[in-house]
């Protein structure tokens, strides 16, 4: 336990150093980077993904996965657009969009918690199915012309320079950190992620915890979908397609183990900041989209590989030293 904990501390330290490196590099090499407007942009351009990354952290620490989040984002945005087009007031349409997300979450939870199917299968079906539902609603239309207040929420600053989505992100971040790192529920999430059986023997209600998490996941995703719709001012069937892999990448780079039980929101927060700043810096340096994803791919691998290699080198060095010491003693 002790060693695992120190490993984590080291990981987050590593991420922090990397972040500083990226920020300094950008600041020195890219004009226009160190402006308030750019920093707001840098968050705004991916704000929906990082909101969902918060709840995805819970899911992955719990040793599960939710591949359906991007499709749920699409479903909620399209539900809202469809109802608004049908004449429903925007407030109610948005609420129904959110409820569509809750419904998707309950559906996922049922198959995972009650029937006991693996979350990978359930949410993979959800990835296809919820996207299908979104298309069923909007078909080949693009629905826009939302009320001005709605677009303003997505596109204009709300408090100071901060738009609504950023405020939502920071509020959720604080909540998530309190719940995951400092509450009993958070401890259950880790315990279950470490070993379902141990958790069950210890009296943790494993299924219930999982079901709560999957409903929460879809609900947050639905909220993110609505925010995305407000930022773009229009919805289409393909809205948010493919976001799931970016979101999972953020969580994994944050040091959350895909096998569950370890990782923290601090790490995820750092990884989010690294990815956003890296993308922004590369974008401002006019690197193409492919190179950006490629570099993040390299970073993802290196961030785990480098510490592992270092520890291997250290271990072999220690072995070597032990052997020479041994030799010295006997000799």
């Amino acid at each position: 336990m002790q060693s695992r904990f120190s490993f984590l501390r080291r990981w987050e330290g590593l991420l922090l150093i990397l972040l500083v490196f990226v920020v300094v590099y950008n600041a020195l090499s890219t004009p226009g980077y160190l402006t308030t407007a750019n920093w707001i942009n840098l968050f705004q351009l991916s704000i929906e993904k990082i909101i969902v990354a918060l709840i995805m952290t819970f899911i992955i620490i719990n040793a599960e996965i939710d591949l359906s989040v991007a499709s749920v984002m699409g479903l909620s945005a399209c539900t809202m657009g469809f109802l608004y087009m049908g004449g429903m007031p925007m407030e109610w349409a948005a609420l129904m969009g959110l409820l569509a997300g809750v419904a998707a979450g309950l559906f996922n939870s049922f198959w995972i918690g009650v029937v006991g199917l693996p979350s990978l299968v359930v949410t993979l079906s959800g990835l296809i199915g919820y996207r299908g539902l979104a298309y069923l609603l909007v078909e080949d239309r693009s629905i826009g012309n939302f009320p001005a207040w709605f677009n303003r929420l997505g596109q204009q600053p709300l408090i100071g320079p901060f738009p609504l989505a950023m405020i939502v992100f920071f509020v959720l971040l604080v909540f998530a950190i309190i719940i995951l790192q400092y509450s009993g529920f958070g401890r259950y999430v880790y315990v279950i992620g470490n070993s379902k059986d141990v958790a069950r023997y210890a009296g943790v209600r494993v299924q219930r915890t999982k079901m709560i998490l999957f409903v929460a996941s879809s609900t947050v995703a639905a909220l993110a979908g609505l925010l995305y719709a407000a930022r773009l001012g229009a919805v289409r069937g393909d809205i948010a397609t493919g976001f799931e892999l970016d979101i999972i990448t953020m969580v994994l780079l944050g040091g959350v183990s895909i096998f569950g039980g370890s990782g923290s929101l601090w790490g995820v927060l750092l990884s989010v900041l690294i990815i956003l700043n890296l993308r922004n810096g590369m974008g401002l340096a006019n690197l193409s989209g492919h190179v950006q994803t490629g570099v993040i791919g390299v970073l993802l691998i290196l961030s785990v590989l480098a510490p592992n290699l270092a520890s291997s080198v250290r271990a072999s060095w220690n072995r070597h030293r032990a052997r020479t010491l041994e030799a010295g003693k006997t000799g």
């Binding site: 080291r10 330290g13 590593l14 150093i17 990397l18 490196f21 090499s29 004009p31 226009g32 402006t35 407007a37 750019n38 942009n41 351009l45 991916s46 298309y135 078909e139 080949d140 693009s142 826009g144 677009n151 997505g154 596109q155 930022r231 773009l232 001012g233 229009a234 919805v235 289409r236 069937g237 393909d238 809205i239 397609t241 493919g242 976001f243 970016d246 993308r279 922004n280 974008g283 401002l284 340096a285 006019n286 690197l287 193409s288 989209g289 492919h290 190179v291 994803t293 490629g294 570099v295 390299v298 970073l299 290196l302 480098a306 510490p307 270092a310 250290r314």
Partner: protein
């Protein structure tokens, strides 16, 4: 304790070396571009003085597709002819991240002080807020190939062809392939979200209502999502679903090629023909062997060339971007900014015309 931090430091060193080693290795070209981008930053603050040049960006729907590269060739040709001392960047997102990526590039361009951007819009109206923000920051926003449907945030759309004419051209090709007594056909489109394809298909449907096309029957519209696999399977499914179908009309380069290959593989070319919008190089084989006897397209090189002229002239104030203005676009001659009949609020510059390819001219165009 000291040792611990020493280890941390060495790790950081390894990391930064690795990172530094990777970044330029993956993309050597933009490294050279960086100082120039920095140099153009200075005039961005001062009002664009004459002779300082206009930094411009050409943005395709996504990278890796031949026609967009052809458009870049055309834009580069205009760039060199005009002698704009600033840089012309060709920046695009990845195919799987097209919508978010286009918005990101547009927003970053605003931050960088780029003066004019030319967008082949793949995000529909979703790009409008970012385009409006760019306009407010003083950037010239021109669309080409695919417009912003609401025209919000866009000054002028450089249209490859008249979107209504696309419907007529497709209907005419269908009539020419099916013969005077007409027949049944289906449309294999890109994705349901593709604004261009949707507009063209809508135009086709309007044309079909006219009496002289009464013997053409459109059975169904299906989507292949611009993926070879989906398009190939959809084409065969159409054949199975409608035994009396004689033609598949695919207004997308990926769809038409995949459908033609499917008909060829299954030996169906005598029974079902393929037509639509395609690239001569990709369609060569199928046109010569009769699977796709006729298809149409326009020149993407010319489109890029014209888009550059429009964007440059708007950015330098030579054009104001109002209806009725006339200008000279280098080797392509004289054009007029006019109301876009297919979009209420939009202005357009119409390039045209279509080239219809068949066995007689496809080989020359495929080179």
């Amino acid at each position: 304790m000291f040792k611990q931090s020493l280890k941390g430091l060495s790790l950081l060193l390894i990391f930064s070396v690795l990172l530094a080693a990777c970044a330029p290795a993956v993309a050597p070209a933009p490294q050279a571009a960086a100082p120039e981008a920095a140099a153009t930053e200075a005039p961005a603050e001062a009002p664009a003085a004459e002779g300082e040049g206009v930094p411009m960006v050409l943005m395709p729907k996504f990278l890796g597709i031949l026609v967009f590269d052809q458009a870049y060739q055309g834009a580069l040709e205009a760039h060199n002819e005009i002698g704009n001392p600033a840089q012309l960047q060709f920046l695009g997102p990845t195919p799987e991240n097209s919508v978010a990526g286009q918005i990101e590039i547009l927003t970053n361009a605003t931050t960088q002080g780029v003066k004019a951007i030319m967008i082949s819009n793949n995000a529909g109206d979703q790009i409008a807020p970012a385009a409006k923000a760019a306009r407010e920051a003083g950037m010239t926003v021109v669309t080409w190939d695919s417009p912003i449907p609401s025209a919000e945030g866009e000054q002028v759309f450089v249209a490859q062809v008249d979107f209504d004419e696309t419907g007529t051209v497709m209907a005419d090709m269908a009539r020419s392939i099916l013969g005077e007594d007409g027949g049944k056909f289906a449309v294999l489109s890109a994705s349901p979200d593709a604004a261009n394809q949707n507009a063209w298909i809508a135009a086709l449907q309007r044309v079909l209502e006219q009496p002289e096309y009464a013997n053409l029957e459109l059975l169904e519209i299906v989507y292949g999502n611009d993926q070879s696999e989906d398009s190939y399977n959809q084409a065969l499914a159409l054949v199975d679903k409608y035994p009396d179908m004689e033609l598949i009309m695919a207004p997308t380069t990926v769809g038409i090629a995949a459908a033609a290959k499917a008909m060829q593989d299954e030996g169906l070319c005598d029974q079902v023909k393929v037509s639509g919008l395609g690239l001569p190089a990709e369609m060569l084989e199928f046109t010569l062997n009769g699977c796709a006897p006729e298809f149409a397209l326009w020149s993407f090189v010319d489109l890029g060339y014209l888009a550059y002229h429009v964007a440059y002239k708007l950015a330098t104030g030579e054009l104001q971007g109002v209806e009725g203005e006339t200008f000279e676009a280098g080797r392509m001659g004289s054009y007029t900014i006019e109301k876009d009949p297919t979009r209420e609020a939009g202005l357009r510059v119409l390039m045209g015309p279509f080239t219809v390819y068949d066995a007689s001219n496809v080989e020359a165009a495929a080179q």
